[in-house]
Subunit: 316 residues, 4 copies
């Protein structure tokens, strides 16, 4: 579809349904590969043979294949929304509290945090997302609720909710996040109590949404900051910055490989979901629970790789 000269296919001309069917066929051998996240029991129960993918175009069309309407646990994907909601209110307030560089370490590592005295390397590692949640909570009084409201509105479905069983399971196995939060508190980088900030963080990570809903909720990044209702959430530069962060830091310590293969800003979660943004064109969400050793969905990366190669919609 993309020409040999690298000219991307026009968004109007794309045969979305056929393309998604072809991708589903292509990645079928990879569905079930990898390991379902098992650090909490509630996630370990998900069947590994699921696969769904959705494309939402900036003019409001939605296409999907497979289990694209089944809800899954967003996990780290919500870090994109919490960041956007803080930046919409007070971007400057994060400047001294969290960096914008890839970490070179695992998402839950404390090593870098110690060397850099409690300042997380970027907002998408767990420590950084805790700071962002902490800030959002200060700004709104209800971090998790603010994120949930935003997602319901953008996806147009009020039944979207926090999965209570996942949230409870996260809380029971939350020692690593508590360690990160206490470490940052020790360095003066938490505004709210560790317990409150961690609780809101774990709860918004436990929001469950489908590929269709998630793709729609991410459209503001493809529309350079404009929400579904046409109002502006972020200035053009704000959307650009979040897309840049997704490109350099969105896929844990495999962000480089994701950029190399897919070439789109993306953010993965250990629930098996990945969102990706084609600026000016569309947003994508793919879901398949089997994870590679970096915590990214095996079939999800394969699907996005094929999508960007076939359409020429890589930003590169």
């Amino acid at each position: 579809m993309a020409t040999e000269e690298g000219v991307p296919v026009s968004a109007d001309d794309l045969a979305y349904d056929a393309l998604l069917e072809w991708i589903a066929d292509e990645v079928a051998p990879h569905v079930g590969e990898g390991r379902v996240a098992d650090y909490i029991p509630a996630l370990a129960r998900v069947s590994p043979d699921r696969f769904g993918m959705a494309v939402a175009t900036i003019d409001g069309r939605l296409y999907g294949v497979g289990d694209y309407q089944e809800r899954f646990s967003l996990q780290s994907i919500t870090k994109v929304f919490s960041l956007a909601l803080v930046m919409a209110r007070d971007e400057g307030s994060l400047r001294d509290r969290v960096g914008v560089e890839p970490s070179g370490n695992a998402f839950n590592s404390l090593v870098q945090l110690e060397y850099e005295r409690g300042i997380p390397r970027n907002p998408f590692i767990n420590a950084g997302a805790l700071v962002v949640t902490d800030r959002l909570h200060t700004l709104t009084g209800d971090a998790a609720g603010t994120i949930l409201d935003f997602l319901r509105t953008e996806a147009g479905d009020d039944t979207i909710t926090i999965d209570g069983a996942v949230a409870a399971s996260e809380a029971e196995h939350g020692d690593l996040n508590l360690a990160l939060a206490h470490f940052m508190a020790a360095h003066g980088n938490m505004e709210n109590s560790v317990d409150v900030a961690t609780d809101h963080y774990l709860r918004h990570c436990s929001i469950a949404m489908s590929c269709a809903e998630t793709a729609m909720a991410t459209l503001f990044l493809a529309r350079h900051g404009v929400r579904t209702d046409g109002t502006r959430l972020l200035p053009v530069l704000g959307a650009k910055r979040i897309n840049a962060l997704m490109m350099t830091c969105g896929a844990y310590d495999a962000a480089g490989e994701f950029a190399f293969r897919v070439g789109l800003p993306g953010k993965s979660g250990v629930g098996g979901g990945i969102v990706a943004v084609v600026p000016g064109r569309a947003s994508l969400c793919v879901w398949s629970p089997g994870l590679n050793r970096h915590g990214n969905s095996v079939a999800g990366v394969e699907a996005l790789d094929r999508f960007s190669t076939a359409t020429g919609w890589s930003v590169f």
Copy 2:
């Protein structure tokens, strides 16, 4: 120039000369800021008050401002060309020898190299570039000469050459690169002798070119792999991969901030130059010798930031 909706300016409509003049005015207060690289005497001698910028469009037009025709030491910028020249010949041969992830450390760090047993994190840190040079030397018998030939051809000027004084000065102060190379040799990750590989590496880093010449020589990345003479150096996917690596790893340990501010694949050198690619549209080169603490040109980053914001040509 970019609309508030984030729609980029068309390459045909852009008033290049006026834009470049405006940028030169805007960044003038930053020219001279930072520190000129002083780790070798030959670089320390350059006057810090230089500034030049050039834009080469994929259809062959060239625009420039300031000292855009003055030659400077390319330094790390040549890592892009050596990588492309290996990938053009035998991409697979790098797979087990160098990674594609941002390093999270300084460009000359040995720490990551030790943890990962002699495999550099990416081809743009010094260790990775030494491996690429080593491979290119095996493939061609003359790594530095192959790069020089390519640059002369793409820039259309046979007077481009290796600056002998810089190369000699580099060799005199080459202990850190020798340490990296011996460390990799100890882990079986060098094909040629340490002395030969390091010599070719230091020599191609000592090539001197102007902004105009460098922008032209980088056009193949904007043209998805096609050279100045219309022949293909790399497949579309190869050019995409190099652009992706420049985005995630091109600005030392400030790659995240570069993506965040500029939003274009880029590669900086401690000579004060930075190249950037606007896929499908143009390639840019800016030069000003004053470096920030990450080793990137202060005025150069400012200029590219203004360029991408004004044109909307960020990939995000």
Copy 3:
């Protein structure tokens, strides 16, 4: 006093009082140097111009100089006693939970803990002492109380107690220890709840004793495991092992320098106290609140250096 041939002075022949007076004079210029620990307000209030030193011989004599009867906050010194009390009950139970190697890092570092998956490098860094406290609590049901009882008995004074103001202040600023404890809990290396283990740890570190009392309470290590009442707390090998750990790990990340200068097993605390053991001869305690950058008492190290040099009682 020690001959030029390095033959140590006999314990019977030593003119203790004159020696201690001489040492007090010698180190007087250093008293007040360094910084009083200020990470909790209750410690920061101590006057920096205090200096006391006591020697307790294995046959029961006690000598002192300066403020040797004034109580101070033992802080990390209690780590020696908690370790001895676990080893007296069940040495083997620590084998898989804490190492015996110097850490090469600061006492409160998380870096090594992450690389070694929640197993502290030794029992004298904070993480290791938390594990030891956790184990002692499981074995006795009251870790802090068990340590307090032991110290009262050995020092022969029931008025020794936990300083409530220090303990409360520690708890208020306990984020770093909570981070360590949660991190170990995440790796399955805590038996009791993080809150309980951390509370007992902070409380036993808040015990206040004088140099005289502390020297007497440490005599069991000079007597190869035998307590004040003649009963055996530890086998000869157990006492040897604790002495060895004090030598290699007792002075935070300056253990090497302490061995180099003093040449005796020792353990310092940020309250400004240091205990040292002369196996088969005596135990020493010195106190002066000003700390060097490693957290060891400046005047305390100077005093012990002079003591071991003058007597030839270094183990080397």
Copy 4:
């Protein structure tokens, strides 16, 4: 032999021959355990079933068992002698160039060296020993020759020599040491050329001596600095300092365990030898080529553990 009260056996009363025979029997099951060093072919050829042990008393008696007269490659053991020979000439000159702390890392690690800007943590890791050799070469004009002369004199045998095959093999596989040396040179911590310093380092590590000879050559540390001929090599404090460094840093990253088990200053080499010092009494050397994962002789550690436990000659 040591009483239950921990009183050490008198050096005059010890039945050395019977003790050594008993130890040889006890450790026989461990001889052949572990792996012979295989990083250079010349070392890998040694038979793993060798075991020898020698005791030299300060009054000149020598006792031995097994292969105690067979020569083996000293390797890192020579680091003790090069350090003593520099300290005898100009101790102060090392103060700013090498530390005295245990490293917490493997003997050939570059990580700490980078964090601490080219200053090795102690003189017994490879980087530190390279600095010591470099300094000795400046002071004497022939570092390796100076060490060889000293060892021949102390052991009383002029046939002791550098094993040329080992030295050549080391040089062929010397990339890691060259990396360390170039790294330090880059930080201004080498006085001679990297090639010269590394050559002398590899050559003195290739000296071959027997347990008997090595124990005799180490006696100056048991005699608080006095050589075989009665002249003083080092002041009492100098000998104390080397013994302290051997205790905290002498057994690679297992120094803590060695202190914990053996309780004597010691230095191991990957040739399978270990020397240990009983200050004021004797020096020991044991040899058996099978190494544990830290690079220390398995049977050697077992033998020294039994020796110190049986005699009560641990310094603790």
